[in-house]
Symmetry: C2
Subunit: 417 residues, 2 copies
């Protein structure tokens, strides 16, 4: 079964927002065995929606649209679907009651006709209940294909998927299993890896597919497959991974399924019963943000001292002024002192520190753009590492975050659990 | 002139990465007057690429593909374009020299045939020089339409756009001006706003278009238009904005062109010659990350104490233990004390603090999920504000960041410059 995603709304086409809905939908559908044939973003004009639906139904059995269901004039999805399915709007009493209820409970302004009109739905649509908003979801079956229309507001869409759409797909269709697993490598380019593993790649049994994903200094190798039984697929993929590891031992540092590296670190620290803090200069809080985005962070994460100003490294972390004067604020000794300062202040077992010049211009003390030091304090001592991260600010910050997390994870893997 | 963007690669279709390339491309093209007709993400299979190109050329004059130009087997874009344009690969000596140069300078492994093959390009393509990588950009003219193929690695693609593609488009085509400006409102739902401004909306002159963008507690109103002279368009849009402000005075707090609220705050603080620090608990560094993502942050931003663990609020910020015991760690007095602590430790003029329970479960002291306090210390004193942010963790964090930035910005707007 193949699905196609259509995001409706000019905000994506002018670059005003990132299409994160597509990420959620792709992941959620893949997990239950639905492959995505194409993702399209189109403007909210009737004729564009209709031609996108016509094209999508050539490729996919299942089409999910998001967006264009608001109460205001710029939202045209519902009327367009009426025209597309030769249908008309009828008032849905259950939805009307739900909308009135939301207004009574949560909204200070009185309900308007515009809001009540959101309860008028195409007669051929099966209602998908939107617990968190006034725009109902809709499910159409037409000539053996399914069309679903969901609001574009991410948390409303996500709840509708979880509570209504995914269970209904699993109930109505027999789905294959899809499985992806990704090998993490660091330190070698994609073509050098490809040469090393060529013989292994050529013997991969159908339908296992390999993809190279180079990104910010690392290359991830993704194995994808599909079949009937998930456990069998996992076995087949793991068998291939066991074969390839000896070929890339020096650059291999783990695998991830759905897991990000901060998730792997979190699991490891929780298992070890150890805690972590950070001292961030050039990463400006980005490491802490990665950890605290996940529930349960307080079990191992104490916090991070974002010390952007030089004085704050002394005032908050106790880094000696003389050390900064001697080595410069962007230096190995300062990275190490920041890590020790965080470890002490937060009373954590491990502490990760970053100091560098993310650019775009040379630092006060003439530090080159892109030079970064990472400090890591462990229960056994402290180390610092030097890196050159290039000259693009966003990239320097992201590469430093990745490098810091990877440095920590490697050390944790060697520590006893 | 209309453009269409095609991202090639399975990683977007399985939700492994967010399509940020599309955001960069849409913004960059809009700025020079190129409208985006559609954005599509497709898998890296020859037949999908060909059918996407066929469909795109029905809608657009200018088609930009990203991705699928790596040296490994899973990358098929170049061979597919050869087939599509009935062309063949020829060795490009300039590109070969560039690839060899990159290997000599930056890569420790020896160059391979796979790498050298990247210098073989379709004979009909005009070369677009990729300064930062081995995958060359390509520009094809075919039956009055332009097809551009760029690598998917964001910083390589961005540099190619800036240095090669955008100048070439501006040189070869006469482009209209496009202009967008967004009104920021806070505190009223989209349908309530729509009712208030209905008469104004109905009188908007062609081709000015209005869109409502509701997001995490605020509604943004975007005005878009196009024409010949950018200055004239700006005047027309500003005229309409002057008309609508009196109707929404109580919920209006500014406009943005390309600017995010952290950019507005940064400009304001720099103009005032004042500094800012943060004390973040539930936002976990996300506020600091927003500020430090932009160059020049060190001119006004001192840092942020991410104090996730309760003890760290005392150890780093000097919040009295007795205050925490009396009011609870998620409380107005603690938010205020955190702000004062950051203001003092970082020696900043302003300090912004957050403490709350982002969920998914009740806090140690029984705090409800979603309850958040924001503290703001200014040169004149300190205040705290209470909010209920719902029960979705990601949303609570994001809403709190937005709310904190907006709280600060409102106060800054009232302060003398």
């Amino acid at each position: 079964m193949k699905a196609e995603l259509i995001s409706i709304g000019d905000e994506i086409l002018i670059g005003q927002i990132v299409n994160t809905n597509a990420v959620f939908l792709s992941k959620a559908l893949n997990k239950i065995g639905v492959e995505i044939a194409q993702i399209s973003s189109i403007s909210d004009q009737k004729e564009n929606i209709i031609s996108a639906l016509d094209e999508a139904r050539k490729r996919a059995d299942f089409i999910i649209m998001t967006g264009g269901l608001g109460p205001t004039k710029d939202d045209v999805t519902k009327h367009t679907l009426c025209e597309y399915f030769d249908d008309q709007l009828v008032k849905n009493e259950r939805v009307l009651e739900h909308i009135e209820n939301i207004f009574r409970k949560y909204v200070t302004t009185p309900i308007s006709e515009m809001n009540r009109d959101q309860a008028n739905l195409p007669s051929k649509a099966t209602l998908l209940h939107n617990a968190y908003g006034t725009a109902a979801g809709m499910w159409f079956s037409d000539r053996g294909q399914v069309f679903v229309s969901l609001p574009g507001v991410p948390y409303e869409m996500e709840a509708l998927m979880r509570n209504e759409v995914l269970p209904k797909i699993q109930q109505e269709f027999v789905l294959p299993a899809l499985y992806h697993k990704t090998i993490l490598t660091y330190g070698l380019g994609e073509s050098a890896i490809a040469e090393r593993i060529e013989a292994w790649e050529n013997q991969l049994p159908h339908p296992i597919k390999l993809a190279y994903l180079p990104s910010l200094g690392r290359v991830r190798l993704r194995l994808s497959t599909k079949g009937q039984a998930l456990e069998k697929l996992k076995e087949q993929v793991n068998e291939q991974i066991e074969k390839v590891i000896p070929l890339i031992e020096d650059i291999y540092f783990g695998t991830e399924e759905d897991q990000s590296i901060e998730f792997l670190i979190a699991s490891r620290l929780k298992k070890m019963g150890k805690t972590l803090s950070c001292a961030e200069s050039c990463t400006g809080g980005a490491i802490a943000t990665r950890f605290t985005a996940h529930a349960g962070a307080s079990e191992f994460f104490c916090g991070s001292a974002v010390t952007y100003a030089t004085e704050s490294k002394t005032d908050l972390l106790g880094v000696e002024k003389s050390l900064i004067e001697k080595h410069g604020v962007v230096s190995g000794p300062v990275a190490a002192a920041m890590a020790l300062g965080a470890q002490k202040k937060y009373q954590s077992d491990y502490a990760l520190a970053t100091t560098g010049n993310a650019g775009p211009t040379k630092g006060d003390q003439g530090q080159e753009v892109g030079i970064v030091f990472i400090g890591l304090a462990t229960p056994d001592g402290v180390e610092s590492f030097e890196f050159m991260m290039g000259n693009n600010r966003t990239r320097v910050i992201q590469k430093t975050v990745n490098q810091a997390l990877e440095t920590l994870y490697r050390v944790l893997l060697k520590a006893p659990v």
